[in-house]
């Protein structure tokens, strides 16, 4: 099966997914693809249809229209083969609290028909091997999150779908998970689908990102391309007026704000411009590319709604 999956160019295809409940369109014509070995971020405010989309991806909700293909298997027609490629956590990592961590992992391992040695392996991956024999009811949210990821990793799936995996983790824990997910993507060619409201995390963790709002995908693309879609350089100089004249003479669009000059310019064009300013006797204290955060990008795209 691994070989068959390896030749599939994409791990996950969401094709025109639509969910209508009564009169309300919850998810509207959402399409995207996940390549193998890629970490894909899914961003959107509360009520944007993020969770409904994830539930359609893992077969919990039937799409009104559209279809999901996992590693070449149609989710609806070939449910078992498709789900064998997926490990997931939907919303909270709700595991059986009245059982121990090990019993929980054994429970899901039996459903997959995988060996017991798998349990030790995944527990080690999330650094939970020493707490496995305690009841899940005694775990902190962070530990439950890690146990949730451990159960998702059982059976070595091709595709990991995680809803808010950073929830409840401290900064060190978030870093661990990020490192783990990047490593799984790089070493095992695993595709990871992550929804998150921590934009900084998505920026650090994901290769590509889709932004969903009111059930529709507004933007989808490479994280760095989206971030650097508008290039700007920030300049701090001794004589703002003189610098502004030089820039105007070169037809470079710029704005001056509180002694700081924002210049719209491609990275490659920056060195000659700096040289020109220096030749005209402008002293430069500081020249830096301005990086847009996803948050700014998101606010621009959605027209000011916050990300939740």
């Amino acid at each position: 099966m691994t070989q068959a999956n390896a030749v599939e160019p994409v791990a996950l295809v969401a094709d025109r997914l639509t969910k209508v409940i009564g009169e309300r369109v919850i998810v509207d014509n959402v399409s995207f693809q996940l390549r193998h070995g890629e970490v894909f971020g899914f961003l959107g405010p509360n009520g944007a249809g993020k969770t409904t989309t994830i539930r359609m991806l893992v077969g919990l909700i039937r799409p009104t229209f559209g279809r999901v293909t996992v590693c070449g298997h149609d989710l609806r027609r070939d449910f078992e083969a498709a789900m064998r490629c997926i490990g997931c956590i939907v919303e909270n990592p709700d595991l059986y609290r009245f059982m121990t961590g090990r019993e929980n992992l054994e429970h899901f391992a039996r459903m997959l028909g995988v060996a017991r040695t798998e349990i030790e392996r995944v527990a080690e991956l999330v650094a939970l091997e020493h707490r496995l024999d305690q009841r899940v009811g005694t775990y902190s949210l962070g530990m439950r999150q890690r146990l949730g990821i451990a159960q998702a990793l059982l059976g070595d799936p091709q595709l990991l779908i995680l809803d808010e995996p950073a929830n409840g983790l401290d900064p060190a824990g978030i870093r661990e998970i990020r490192t783990l997910l990047r490593r799984l993507a790089a070493e095992r060619d695993m595709s990871v689908f992550v929804s998150s409201h921590l934009l900084g995390e998505v920026e650090l963790m994901c290769d590509r990102v889709a932004i969903i709002h009111k059930g529709k995908i507004l933007k989808e693309g490479d994280v760095h391309e989206l971030i650097s879609s508008r290039r700007e350089m920030e300049l701090r100089v001794d004589d703002v007026d003189k610098a502004s004249l030089v820039l105007a003479a070169k037809n470079v669009v710029h704005t001056v704000d509180d002694g700081v000059i924002d210049v719209a310019i491609d990275e490659a064009d920056a060195p000659p411009l700096v040289a020109e300013l220096v030749r005209n006797g402008v002293a430069i204290f500081h020249a830096q590319r301005k990086v847009h955060t996803l948050e700014e990008l998101f606010l621009e795209t959605t027209g000011g709604e916050t990300v939740g």
Partner: protein, 325 residues
């Protein structure tokens, strides 16, 4: 694959401590009743059972004479009871002498009409809804296992535990009384098949069986009834999202149905309720059903239909439904 799923469900049911609670309830009830039977035995050693039985028959006949020749369900059941007791008198059998085997035989009748269905209701009513309430259904249903297999594993597990509840109840009903009451008497003759026909009590159909055989038949009937109750509990568990709601509805329908059959036995549509047909062991022993026209076969078929309907609806809903938060 199904075996693994059943193992999972068994583990969860045990870990939720439902079965321990059910066993605790059974143990407490059997112990208390045993003690009271023990007291009865001590008293009976000084009594004249024939005189008492004759007195009871005379009382009932007086009551019947007072109401005249009415044909209400109540009068008919009283007539049947008179005939039954008269039969014991004629054959010089003390139907009341407590022994451990007789206790087992009685247990299945007394517990079968409300207690055992209640316990199976406790076991089954949250077998699906608890997953829903705890949010674990999101993990359970996103594994490479078809939903019908998951529901089947839950049904089979429930049937296993319903069977186990009945078996453990029967075992307790023998072992605990055996400490205080006479433990022998499995060979004692019993009489079943008392039938009420239009012409009155029909003694032709009465068969004499050794107690052990009679007990086995009663347990078999009760077992069937419990499997049907389990199927209905599964349906409630699928319909309701909260465990409390499904357990509550199960208890209410069992108790409500029982009250209904006792309070308004003349509302004949009541005979199509599953609760009316539930005390199969009672009807087998000769207790008349609450409504006219309820033969043993009618009761068995009715329960079977209810169970089949409950299962059909459970599967249809469980397989198709969207799982929201």
């Amino acid at each position: 694959m199904l075996i693994s799923l059943i193992r999972n469900e068994t583990l969860k049911l045990i870990r939720r401590k439902r079965f321990a609670v059910v066993m605790g309830i059974l143990f407490a009830i059997v112990t208390i009743v045993t003690y009271s039977q023990h007291r009865l035995l001590l008293q009976q050693q000084r009594r004249e059972w024939r005189v008492q039985l004759q007195q009871r028959v005379a009382n009932m006949q007086n009551q019947l004479r007072r109401v005249g020749r009415t044909d209400s369900s109540w009068a008919r059941s009283l007539r049947a009871e008179v005939s039954r007791l008269q039969f014991y008198l004629d054959h010089d059998i003390d139907p009341e002498r407590p022994t451990a085997p007789l206790f087992v035989r009685r247990f299945v009748n007394v517990a079968g009409f409300l207690l055992l269905p209640l316990l199976v209701g406790i076991l089954g009513s949250d077998i699906v809804s608890a997953e829903n309430a705890e949010g674990t259904d999101k993990l359970l249903l996103t594994r490479p296992v078809r939903r019908w297999k998951i529901l089947t594993s839950k049904l089979v597990t429930l049937w296993m535990f319903a069977t186990l509840t009945l078996a453990c109840g029967g075992l307790m009903a023998f072992v605990i009384p055996a400490a205080l009451l006479p433990a022998r008497g499995w060979q004692a003759p019993t009489f079943t098949g008392f039938q009420l026909s239009d012409t009155g009590f029909n003694a032709e159909a009465v068969r004499q069986l050794p107690l052990w055989k009679d007990t086995l038949i009663a347990f078999g009937l009760e077992w069937f009834a419990l499997l049907c109750v389990a199927a209905i509990a599964l349906l409630l568990s699928v319909l309701f999202k909260s465990s409390a709601a499904s357990i509550g509805t199960m208890l209410a329908s069992l108790i409500g149905g029982t009250i209904l059959t006792r309070i308004s036995p003349d509302w004949t549509a009541g005979k199509y309720l599953f609760v009316s047909a539930l005390p199969l062991a009672d009807y087998y022993s000769g207790e008349p059903p609450p409504y006219d026209g309820m033969s043993m076969m009618f009761c068995i078929a009715l329960l079977g239909l209810w169970a089949a309907g409950a299962l059909a609806v459970s599967y249809a809903i469980f397989i198709r439904r969207d799982v929201f938060g």
